[in-house]
């Protein structure tokens, strides 16, 4: 069975931690998966330049070429929100960005990796890594990109929607498996 993902634009931009605001481009839902400045982030604690640098850090930590910047923007939004709530976090992030030196965003990926390796044990990097992994893979954009279909209760589960549709391995004999529920 093909993957069962259908998303509307609103779902795409939601995460457990926030929602992108200031959408500037209309269009089909899938336009948002395509690359392009189809979103904007309202930052409160961080400057736009700092946000751009963090975006490059997040893309170096979790480099997925097919995943739109909008997903990474949600990571930055979550970090900005934490910085806004906690002065210590704000300082860690601002100092951390400064420590990367000028032009980090423009550097080649290998160079960015080398730079981050040098600060891997720092509180700044560890916070960024943790936040990137936590937020990025909970976005509907990541679900769509990596094929994850999410909750299924609202659709009746996967019972009739592919939970046992794998055909490239032998079927399991009934004695080690079990019958489908009556009526299913």
């Amino acid at each position: 069975m093909d993957e069962l993902i259908t998303l509307n634009r609103r779902e795409l931009l939601k995460t457990t931690t926030g929602m992108l605001t200031g959408l500037v481009v209309a269009g089909s839902p899938l336009a948002l998966i395509a690359r392009g400045p189809a979103w904007a982030v309202d930052l409160t604690s961080l400057t736009s330049s700092e946000g751009t640098t963090l975006m490059a850090v997040a893309r170096t930590i979790s480099p997925h070429d097919k995943l739109d910047d909008a997903a990474y923007a949600l990571v930055i939004q979550a970090i900005d929100s934490d910085a806004n709530k906690d002065e210590k976090v704000r300082k860690t992030i601002k100092d951390g960005i400064a420590s990367l030196g000028p032009g980090f965003t423009a550097r080649a990926e290998n160079d960015r990796v080398e730079t981050l390796k040098k600060i891997e044990s720092s509180a700044f990097f560890q916070f960024l890594r943790q936040k990137t992994v936590q937020v990025l893979y909970a976005t509907p954009m990541a679900y769509a990109c990596f094929g994850y279909e999410g909750e299924s209760f609202s659709k009746g589960g996967y019972l009739l929607r592919g939970f046992n549709d794998l055909r490239w391995l032998p079927e399991v004999p009934l004695e080690d498996s079990g019958p489908m529920p009556v009526g299913a």
Partner: protein, 522 residues
């Protein structure tokens, strides 16, 4: 529901509403015994379970601070979350994955079966298997466990097909969709499994047994239960006679309350149970309650765990289907030639994408880490659930340098792994690697040991009072009207997921309490 006065000293007070406490509450109330059930968490329902993994985690998980120490990898990988259990009505039966194997007869005689092993504190159980077996049968009927009593197995999922094919190539014989407390068809007022893959978020079908929607409402229906939610026990008090007589707790407004009690049963999971006993120190019991032999909190066991992922060149869609419905049981043997004592199961596992990336994979970043995530569609998974050996210094202690919301010291979890633990994990990872290799996995990824979900043995039953905290009925050696009613009381962990054993022991303990109350012995 009953309303029991604070000054009413006739009630049994149970602390915790999970597999042990929730079952015990039902068993006592249906025998006409008044019970006050204190639960630190809130009450959710099938309707209120969140279907967003991150939200569900926050809704159900015990997130109060803990600290940890020792050389186990969890201290490094998950420093803020040594254990993963619930704080909600129904306790950890709300997020459990419902695997219900029994302990094996020889696992109840661990010390005799394995012999003296340096650096361990192994004991034999004070209960024979034949005695426990009667209660296993009752528990399996109660929970509607699959492949028992004529209940069919769950149908095989995609993820299980990969496990099965690999296991058969290696010659394993005992491979099936598990003994699960998940309804393959409607049973006992609960729905049937529609293969949501959201066992851990709370089953919105109620297909999975949980005290939240079985034992607890039935206890309420007897008219003998006074369930108090958002009520956190902070101290158990005793009288001059050394018998416990009250539980002090903070209610939902943070206000201190004192409930008189004839009997106190502690079932707060194996971290909070010893913590509460230690927090209840007094002039008569300066080391805490039940702790005259310095055994409370010691011998902490958590099972040897660790995930193994196979990446294939074709889709698996592992997340579609009951999370843990598959097992290989051939390695649940005591065969020292493998290089370690005790046995292990290999159990099916799938994780939703957010949890997979945070808990399922070892620390990493960059292109290789990203490549694994990009293979998510094509990944099959399983994990080891093996017996860890008790050690006296693997223990729960109070950490006075970190305080909870009530200003009380938090629990510290200390684990130094034994060489036996490491040898078993290595063997299991090797076998699982071979299984996926035998069906042409492109790559095998070994995941980390996740935060412990099976917490056991920290107030264990022992024949000799110097080796444990309670007798064979869960009554503390020191105080006969203070009982332990959760996984803390297991003498040793065996290789079985603990819930079925906890339920069986609670059924047995309820009979004992009822008889003792009638006989006026407690």
């Amino acid at each position: 529901m009953a309303h029991i006065e604070f000054k009413d000293a006739s009630a049994v007070v149970i602390i915790g509403s999970g597999a042990g406490g929730g079952t015990l509450a039902h068993e006592l109330t249906r025998r006409g015994i008044k019970v006050v059930l204190l639960e630190a968490g809130k009450r959710q329902s099938l309707e209120s379970f969140s279907q967003v993994p991150g939200e569900a985690f926050g809704q159900l998980t015990w997130l109060d601070a803990r600290t940890q120490s020792g050389d186990w990898s969890v201290a490094r990988d998950f420093p803020a979350l040594p254990v993963w259990h619930c704080k909600t009505v129904g306790g950890t039966t709300v997020h459990w994955t419902a695997s219900c194997p029994r302990l094996q007869p020889w696992e109840l005689r661990a010390k005799s079966a394995y012999g003296e092993i340096a650096g361990t504190s192994l004991i034999d159980w004070p209960i024979a298997y034949a005695e426990l077996e009667k209660y296993y049968e009752l528990a399996e009927r109660r929970l509607g466990v699959t492949r028992r009593n004529g209940v069919p197995g769950l149908p095989a999922s995609n993820n299980f097909k990969a496990m099965y094919a690999g296991a058969k190539k290696l010659g394993y014989k005992q491979v099936h969709t598990g003994h699960m407390a998940i309804n393959p068809r409607p049973f006992d007022g609960r729905g049937f499994c529609i293969q949501q893959g959201f066992c851990v978020q709370g089953c919105k079908m109620g297909a999975k047994w949980s005290t939240l929607y079985t034992e607890i409402p039935r206890a309420e229906a007897t008219g003998n239960l006074d369930l108090r939610i958002e009520s956190t026990a902070v101290k158990i008090e005793h009288g001059a006679d050394g018998r416990v007589n009250a539980v002090v707790y903070r209610d939902s407004h943070g206000k201190e309350q004192r409930q008189k009690a004839r009997i106190v049963c502690v079932a707060g999971n194996a971290i909070e149970t010893p913590r509460l006993l230690l927090l209840s120190s007094s002039s008569i019991f300066p080391q805490g309650l039940g702790n005259s032999n310095d055994q409370v909190g010691r011998n902490y066991c958590h099972h040897i765990t660790g995930t193994v992922w196979g990446i294939f060149d074709k889709p698996v869609h592992s997340w579609r289907g009951a999370t843990l419905a598959g097992v290989v049981e051939d390695e649940v043997i005591n065969e020292p030639r493998r290089g370690f004592a005790g046995g292990y199961r290999m159990e099916l596992l799938a994780l939703d994408l957010p949890t997979f990336s945070q808990v399922g994979l070892s620390y990493g970043w960059g292109r290789d880490f990203a490549t694994i995530i990009e293979s998510y569609r094509n990944i099959a998974g399983m994990f080891i659930n093996g017996e860890d050996l008790p050690r006296a210094d693997n223990r729960i202690t109070l950490n006075s340098s970190v305080k909870d919301a009530h200003g009380l010291p938090v629990a510290n979890v200390h684990v130094d792994e034994h060489a036996n633990d490491k040898a078993m994990r290595k063997h299991a990872q090797g076998q699982m690697t071979k299984m996926y290799g035998a069906i042409d996995a492109k790559r095998i990824v070994l995941g980390p040991t996740p935060p412990a979900t099976h917490n056991m043995c920290t107030a264990r039953m022992s024949a000799d009072p110097r080796e444990g905290v309670t007798n064979a009925w869960g009554q503390t050696h020191d105080i006969k009207n203070l009982l332990i009613s959760d996984g803390s009381a297991l003498s040793t962990p065996g290789a079985a997921n603990p819930t079925l054993t906890i339920v069986a022991l609670a059924l047995r303990q309820a009979e004992h309490i009822s008889e003792q109350m009638k006989a006026r012995s407690i």
